[in-house]
């Protein structure tokens, strides 16, 4: 539980941070909330030579409105997410999922951007970002670029971030209840504070008794977060009813490739995905 020695840098701007990462050489780690990095360093499963700590980069923290998008700074903590009025109004799915992340202490330090860049498929927030079609703003030595969620999550713990780059902002669409959106994050764990065995992030838009759009993200159903595309497609235009939702949810595990571990084998995870998708959709659709 004692990390190996490392050099430490604590920049205060994005530019300084990028410089520190560039100066750090091959074995540099970026520290956001430390929810994942600190434990593996203490276990000596990771021993970076340089740690660049972003906690003093004020410009990476906070939520603002830009037209029809919300812009969330990568260093916005989970606790900030839970108390932000804009997110409360337009991003209930993110708020619900964030409420299930770890415990109160971790939520004070852990960050939205850190969780996304870490890209643990068992983490709660990647599936939410994917379901919402979030956009990822990445800063690097060559300037900024924007990557859609569908391209951001590349593989297990691997993202579109290149060496020397930094995730700085996440852009989310506004999903307002007034526009017919209902959401639900349905998480399945053995104990209250644990990684998801499986979870489902669902957003459903209703209009005149019919579903006009459904967005479903799956947590821990493969090496990356996944969309339940078949289920989404099956829901467009159908009546809002338990029968239609149940029928669509039966396709939720299509195209998934979950792992086996102590908590669940793959076939059980696929079964859970169907049950939880049905429950998430029913709740999101107000059934």
């Amino acid at each position: 539980m004692i990390p190996a020695a490392f050099a430490y840098s604590r920049p205060t701007t994005v530019e300084e941070a990028l410089q520190a990462i560039a100066d750090g050489g091959d074995d540099v780690k970026v520290l956001a909330g430390g929810q994942s990095l600190i434990p593996v360093m203490r276990l000596r499963l990771a021993a970076p030579e340089v740690v660049v700590d972003l906690t003093r980069v004020e410009g990476l923290r906070g939520v603002r409105e830009e037209g029809d998008q919300l812009v969330v700074g990568a260093m916005t903590t989970h606790a900030d997410v839970l108390t932000d009025p804009l997110l409360a109004q337009y991003a209930q799915l993110l708020v619900q999922a964030t409420e299930t992340v770890a415990d109160r202490q971790v939520r004070r330090r852990g960050t939205f951007g850190g969780a996304l860049a870490h890209a643990d498929p068992a983490g709660d927030l990647p599936a939410v970002a994917l379901a919402l079609d979030a956009e990822f703003v990445i800063a690097g030595p060559a300037g900024r670029r924007t990557v859609p969620a569908s391209e951001f999550f590349v593989d297990y713990l691997t993202t579109a971030l290149e060496e020397g780059e930094l995730l700085v902002e996440i852009r989310l669409p506004k999903l307002a209840a007034a526009d017919g959106w209902g959401v639900r994050y349905e998480k399945f764990t053995r104990v209250a504070q644990a990684w998801s065995i499986v979870a489902v992030a669902a957003a459903v838009r209703r209009e005149g008794g019919r579903i006009t759009e459904a967005r479903i993200g799956l947590t821990n159903m493969g090496p990356t977060p996944l969309r339940a595309s078949a289920t989404e497609a099956a829901l467009v235009g159908v009546d809002v009813s338990l029968e239609t939702v149940t029928a669509a949810a039966a396709q939720a595990a299509e195209g998934t490739s979950p792992s086996n571990d102590l908590n669940a084998q793959a076939d059980y995870r696929q079964h859970l995905a169907q049950v939880l998708t049905r429950r998430a959709l029913a709740a999101a659709a107000g059934l």
Partner: protein
């Protein structure tokens, strides 16, 4: 120790003072400092020149050390010394096993540090001593070691077969001992085989008691200060007195040159009832270097190397008549010892032998147990130690017998349990249960639960085919506590007695110091002992200070385990107080110019009967004795005392626990809907402490049923090596507990106390599993392996069987565990 030795006098019955403090829900006087951390934990201790010890631990479960080069580590910054097993081989001796349960038990010996072979993952192979803790940890990486792998022995049922690879070359099999208790042979029951042959119905089951990790809150920690040939050892231990004797005998340090101090200790649950390799190594290294040495484990080391608990395979047969009358019980156990025999490793299952018959009137009983070596960390005491395993087996198989007979499980229990008017009752296992009323506890518990309504709801849910099914499970348990009558322990080949000691020092200002040999590690001794003394001496609760855990202050003691502290240690306090009053009476009579016979002692005052106003308080007597200007001829000027209490019987707490469980049949998720229990722990000194003990015990017993399991992979690595994978429930995962009590005083001690430390843990596990099976039995489930993971329950419902073996299921897995994920994240992740 300043108490004056009293001449040996026969034990006389003690009259308890009227209870004023006893029975009060006093807030615990020790809590403020424990909760705020304003106290001295072992790891807080810093001594001038202190060095830090770190252990390189084996990554292989079974192997010969073929190469070990520590030279590079010696050159690392701030490193003072590096030791290998070979360096310490001559002086390390063998860790003690104090419970040779059979005369021919095989004990291959237990080195504190491996010399040429490792037998479980985590065994120490080298020690770095450095000026800082971090330098010691860093230097471990510079040690070069190679192992020649040996076949790994993990599965007990395979390990006992002929031709199995051996854990120890020096033994002829992996069986350490074969222990038998046969009621027929013991004269406490009939012939068991005959009982089964004659029975109308028999039911057989195989139960698995999974391996558990005690997971105490404060990690193990030890500091040794050598002062020429004297040694002081601080250790986060439950057993400073036993540790002193054992460490002296292992290291050759004379006992009077070794002082052991257990400062405030943060939990143990039996996990600190041990003489740890690291405690011995700290002594050896301190002796070599002549410098203070500290070692504090990391949580990972703790989970991997501190002893584990449970880990039994139980084959249980029960025989009965068609009308439900039980005829016989037969138990065969495989009990995992792990790689070595530690302090009471072999005795844990043997202690359980006496509890399998539970509260029932079996006419015949036979118990057999094989202690089996495997390449895992040793097992040893864990909350309940042998008794939870036994209680689980009997309470589970009673349910299965009820199903076989088509009887209500509670009706079957009623038919066979010992009735209140039958106490004292000698069981088929030879124990004399002294008091209790199982029917009363059961009827109270049914009421607390709201049994009839829940049964009705269960029926409704079944009829409507609700995805969430409801089940109700019972555990009508008893346990043997208050360890223990010394002569009985002797007859069981236990290496020590079961008495406890207390002394009382009356200070000049009337304040009272109570020295107890029973060392607390969270139980609340300071509060309870103060309440007892306040009543007995008639002094204010606040005027009592309780001292413990330092062999230089409390020279005699047998420490804390087996729900013994109040029953045995508390009684010693009562007896010591009685002696103080006796001695003070003589002084008071002298000062009041009255005859001793004319004095009565009430509320802390000696008064002359029939002479109003003529009185003196015991606290004033203390001052008079201190001055010693005026005291009777022929007696010593002291009212201090010491007493030792050796109980003549165990105590037998009992109770009825009822769990109502909801099972989501779509996901397998099990959730306790309601939990009600009524415990009879005899006299309750402090209801708040009792309730706290019950709650904590329930949490641990429920955790065995639903959450906790130590899992090793096929190579013998502990897969559940962190709290990510070894799941401990928090308050959020547990229900509200509806608790109650009945009080039938124990007859084996003047307090009438029975002990409460283990009750919740022993009772709850089978109630929970019985409830879960009751919820889904109509779906074809008749067995569920613990813990009740959602996947297991789901598979049992949809595929049959008991839900399967998680270790086997995952050894074929292609996926990654959470900790592996964490590893990968460190190398692949970008921004965490």
């Amino acid at each position: 120790m300043t108490a004056v030795e009293d001449p040996a006098v026969p034990d006389t019955p003690v009259d308890l003072a009227p209870a004023k403090e006893i029975g009060q829900a006093r807030l615990r006087k020790e809590d403020a400092r424990l909760i705020t951390g304003e106290t001295q934990w072992t790891d807080n201790i810093v001594l001038p020149g202190m060095l830090h010890m770190a252990m390189l631990r084996s990554p292989v479960a079974h192997g010969r050390i073929t190469h070990l080069d520590v030279s590079a580590a010696k050159d690392r910054p701030n490193v003072v010394a590096v030791f290998t097993g070979a360096d310490l081989a001559e002086e390390q001796g063998s860790l003690p096993c104090a419970w040779p349960v059979t005369p021919d038990m095989v004990n291959p010996g237990h080195p504190s540090i491996a010399v040429d072979q490792v037998n479980h993952v985590g065994e120490a192979v080298a020690i770095v001593v450095a000026r800082t803790r971090t330098a010691a940890a860093d230097a471990l990486e510079a040690i070069d070691v190679d192992y020649e792998p040996l076949p790994v022995v993990l599965d007990m049922e395979e390990a006992v077969k002929d031709g199995s690879p051996l854990v120890h070359d020096s033994t002829s099999s992996n069986t350490s001992y074969h222990f038998v208790f046969d009621a027929g042979e013991a004269g406490t029951g009939g012939d068991t085989d005959q009982a089964f042959a004659d029975a109308e119905v028999t039911v057989s089951r195989r139960f698995v008691q999974q391996r558990l990790i005690p997971a105490f809150m404060e990690p193990r920690s030890v500091v040794v200060q050598p002062t020429r040939d004297n040694y002081t050892m601080w250790s986060a231990t439950q057993i400073p007195h036993i540790l002193r004797v054992m460490a002296a005998s292992v290291t050759g340090i004379p006992e009077h040159k070794l002082r052991v101090i257990a400062p405030d200790v943060g939990g143990g649950f039996g996990g600190k009832l041990q003489v740890n390799p690291e405690e011995i190594l700290a002594l050896l290294v301190a002796r070599r270097l002549g410098k203070p040495i500290k070692w504090t484990e990391t949580r990972g080391e703790s989970l991997m190397t501190a002893h584990h608990g449970r880990d039994q395979v139980q084959f249980v047969d029960i025989a009965a008549d068609r009308d439900g009358t039980v005829r016989g019980l037969r138990v065969r156990l495989l009990a995992s010892m792990g790689a070595y025999l530690r302090l009471i490793t072999p005795g844990v299952p043997a202690l359980g032998a006496f509890m399998f018959p539970g509260i029932y009137k079996f006419p015949a009983y036979r118990f057999e147990c094989d202690g089996v070596f495997t390449n895992m960390v040793p097992t040893d005491a864990y909350r309940g130690a042998g008794r939870p395993e036994a209680t689980f087996a009997i309470e589970r198989i009673m349910d299965e017998l009820a199903v076989e007979l088509g009887m209500d499980p509670l009706e079957l229990r009623r038919k066979n349990w010992i009735n209140a008017d039958e106490f004292p009752f000698t069981t088929v296992a030879g124990l004399e249960y002294d008091s209790g009323d199982y029917a009363q506890a059961t009827s109270q518990a049914l009421e607390l639960l709201g049994y009839d309504e829940l049964r009705a709801e269960q029926q409704r849910r079944r009829e409507s085919n609700d995805p969430v099914q409801l089940g109700i499970g019972f555990s009508t348990f008893t346990e043997m506590c208050g360890l223990a009558p010394s002569r009985v322990l002797g007859s069981l080949s236990f290496g020590a007695g079961g008495w406890e000691s207390a002394s009382i020092r009356m200070l000049p200002t009337g304040k009272v110091e109570v020295v107890t040999g029973s060392t607390p590690h969270g139980q609340g001794h300071e509060t309870a002992w103060s309440q007892i003394v306040a009543d007995q001496l008639g002094v204010p609760f606040e005027d009592v200070e309780v001292l413990h855990g330092d062999t230089a202050i409390s020279s005699r003691g047998l420490d804390t385990y087996g729900s013994r502290s109040l029953v045995v240690g508390g009684t010693a306090v009562v007896k010591a107080a009685e002696k103080v009053v006796q001695k003070a009476r003589a002084i008071a009579a002298h000062l009041l110019e009255a005859s001793e016979d004319d004095l009565e002692f009430t509320d802390g005052k000696f008064s002359v009967k029939g002479t109003p106003g003529a009185s003196i308080g015991i606290q004033e007597v203390a001052l008079a004795v201190f001055a010693a200007h005026d005291y009777p001829e022929g007696i010593e000027p002291s009212i201090d005392s010491e007493a030792t209490f050796d109980p003549e019987n165990f105590s037998f707490p009992h109770g009825t626990h009822i769990c109502a469980m909801e099972i989501d049949t779509e996901t397998g998720f099990a959730k306790i809907r309601k939990y009600a229990c009524v415990d009879d722990v005899g006299t309750i000194v402090n209801p708040l402490i009792v309730e706290g003990q019950v709650h904590g015990g329930l949490a641990q017993g429920i955790a065995q049923a639903m959450f906790e399991e130590a899992i090793y992979d096929a190579e013998g690595n502990l897969t559940t090596g962190s709290f990510v994978d070894y799941l401990i429930p928090s308050a959020a995962d547990l229900p509200h507990f509806d608790t109650g009590n009945t009080v039938h005083e124990a007859t084996s001690n003047p307090l009438g106390a029975k002990g409460v430390g283990e009750a919740g843990c022993i009772a709850s596990t089978p109630a929970v599993v019985n409830a879960a099976i009751d919820a889904v039995r109509h779906l074809g489930v008749s067995e569920l392996r613990m813990p009740l993971t959602p996947e297991r329950v789901w598979r049992a419902i949809h595929e049959g069987g008991d839900g399967g073996d998680r270790a086997a299921a995952t050894s074929n897995a292609q996926g990654v565990t959470s900790s592996e994920a964490a590893t990968a994240s460190a190398t692949e992740g970008d921004q965490q």
